[in-house]
Amino acid sequence: MRTTALALAAAAALGWPLVAPTYVVFLGTLVAVNAIVAIGLNLLSGYTNQLSFGHAGFLAIGAYVAALLTLHLPVLPVPLTLLAAGLATALVGLALGIPCLRLEGLYLAMATLAFGFVVTEAITNLDWLTRGNDGLRVPLARLGPWTLDTDAARYYLAVAVAAAMILAALNVAATRTGRAFLAIRTSEIAAEASGIHAAAYKTIAFVLSAFYTGVAGGLFAFVVGFLSPDAFDVFLSVDFLVMIILGGLGSVLGSVAGAAIVTVLNDSLAGFQAYRPLIFGAIMIVCMLFMPGGLAAMTRRKS
């Protein structure tokens, strides 16, 4: 049953560009990118209870690192560029995560919010490097002899990366680290009493989360093809939060579902910008009041 479902999902994901119109393929790519971010955010918020309002900042760092690497080092194949984007962002995550260990709940949320603002301000002001508000045109991604110049090619790249990262995240809970995360979520103090080094694992969660988001940022740069700091404002961070709240905190597949719904909703509401925050805000309130645990908890209850 499970293998059939997986095979069907894989077939659907692979066949998508063959049947769908170009724009919808592009949308599918965005879903894959956002799903990676949502999983990354969920590793932090859903698994270790650290709320972040700054993931747009991480995404921006990953995106700019990937774009600048491709600009100045065009020989680098895409997988390495993405890896570099992820690692650079993870490093920033480490630098932010260690001091943030001292902070809890509200404080952490606000520190990450401030981080997001500082990142966009920094991008705006480092205009010799990032071209600031004029924006940065991202060259096409290259993989050996191929140039990923079609939507379908970029789609396959994003889906392949997303599949690998979803698989890794699904198996995190099977590792010692993953179980430590879950123990910390249940009760940090009880986890510490059981010999789990909460500070170390919370830092790992931060770094891991930043890595996921950085890789997604790299993909985002290639998919969108043009970067400017205002694309990474705090509302994007809020969108990511809506994804995991809707999908279910602590659920990997829920994150994917949440990312898909929010991305498609975002796109279909493009003509009604005024209603977008209204609807997203309402989703957050309704989820919290009537379906805590999001979509993931709903399906679980049924089965």
């Binding site: 209870n49 709320l51 001091p99 001292r102 902070l103 709940g105 509200l106 404080y107 949320a109 606000m110 520190a111 919010l113 401030a114 981080f115 603002f117 500082v118 301000e121 705006t124 002001n125 009760s187 103090i189 009880a190 809020v238 939060l241 709240i245 005024a274 209603y275 977008r276 925050p277 209204l278 997203f280 805000g281 309402a282 989703i283 957050m284 309130i285 919290m288 009041l289 805590p292």
Partner: protein, 292 residues
């Protein structure tokens, strides 16, 4: 830079700082009673200010009466939100409430954009903007007005918390909710009271600052500076919120004189990060013991 020019900058910094103090106070009032942060505090302030604007424009009320309408509307909005939404999630963790108020802030901002406008509007002021000289220092009466009105409100809050039954109940709940309940205090009533009081304090800040910053749906972002101010003073401490707000206002106004322009807009955030990293409990805060 001459001394009197610096004094001018400091006074207008203090005026902005007073508003930050008021917003910080409203955040702290809700936090002390319910242990959660109201992310929509800034948006509630914004809606109250819009109501005041409408009362003056559409209904043609004189400015002070229109301001009172706005402040009252803020209180009513807070009461409705607390009873209809927040109360339902009381059993939830403060995480959940945080996310609910975040959603609420989005809804309120989008709603205000639809009901009123997304543009910036000029807002009537009770005080003139033309600088007057006090000795060698030139200050804008609007700054002095903001500082004076804020100080009056703060004194009123001190009186409320010291001398009234409700104020004492709020302090008791802030100290120990269970003990307060056992002493016969209706904690639920304190919850809604705290929401209303916080909204009223925030709304006063809103109508005071709107003439300076203009009225727009974005003015709710002032809550971030309010939060920074509260953290600066030690989150949970009311005197801390007042001092933190004024300090932040002055720092923010002085910083552009000494820093490159690009850094300017990041100042509140940089201050927040610095404080959180160096001294998370702020200037006047206490460390609470953690429990399993």
């Amino acid at each position: 830079m001459s001394g009197s020019a610096v004094a001018h900058v400091v006074v207008s910094g203090l005026a902005t700082g007073c508003i930050y103090s008021l917003v910080a106070l409203s955040l702290v009032i809700v936090y002390n009673a319910t242990r959660t942060l109201n992310f929509a505090q800034g948006e509630m302030l914004m809606v109250s200010t819009f109501v005041a604007w409408s009362a003056q424009r559409a209904a043609g009320l004189p400015a002070p009466l229109a301001f009172a309408c706005g402040v009252a509307a803020g209180g009513v909005l807070a009461y409705v939100v607390e009873r209809a939404i927040i109360r339902r999630a009381v059993s939830a963790t403060h995480w959940d409430v945080l996310i609910i108020t975040l959603g609420l802030s989005l809804v309120l901002r989008a709603g205000a954009g639809m009901v009123w406008t997304n543009d910036e509007l000029p807002f009537p002021s009770l005080f003139s903007n033309r600088p007057v000289s006090i000795g060698p220092v030139r200050v804008a009466p609007v700054s002095l007005g903001i500082i004076g009105a804020s100080l009056v409100l703060m004194l009123a809050l001190v009186a409320l918390f010291r001398a009234t039954r409700f104020g004492r109940a709020m302090r008791a709940v802030a100290q120990n909710q269970n003990a307060a309940r056992l002493m016969g205090i209706s904690v639920e009533r304190v919850y809604s009271g705290a929401w209303v009081l916080a909204a009223v304090v925030g709304a006063v800040g809103g109508v005071l600052i709107a003439p300076v910053t203009f009225l727009s749906t974005k003015m709710g972002l002032i809550a971030i500076n309010g939060f920074t101010a509260a953290v600066l003073g030690g989150f949970g401490s009311m005197p801390g919120a007042v001092v933190g707000g004024m300090l932040l206002g002055v720092i923010e106004n002085l910083a552009p004189l000494y820093l490159p322009t690009g850094v300017r807009y990041s100042v509140p955030f940089l201050v927040m990060i610095a404080i959180l990293l160096a001294r998370p409990r702020g200037l006047f805060g206490r460390v609470e013991p953690r429990k399993v």
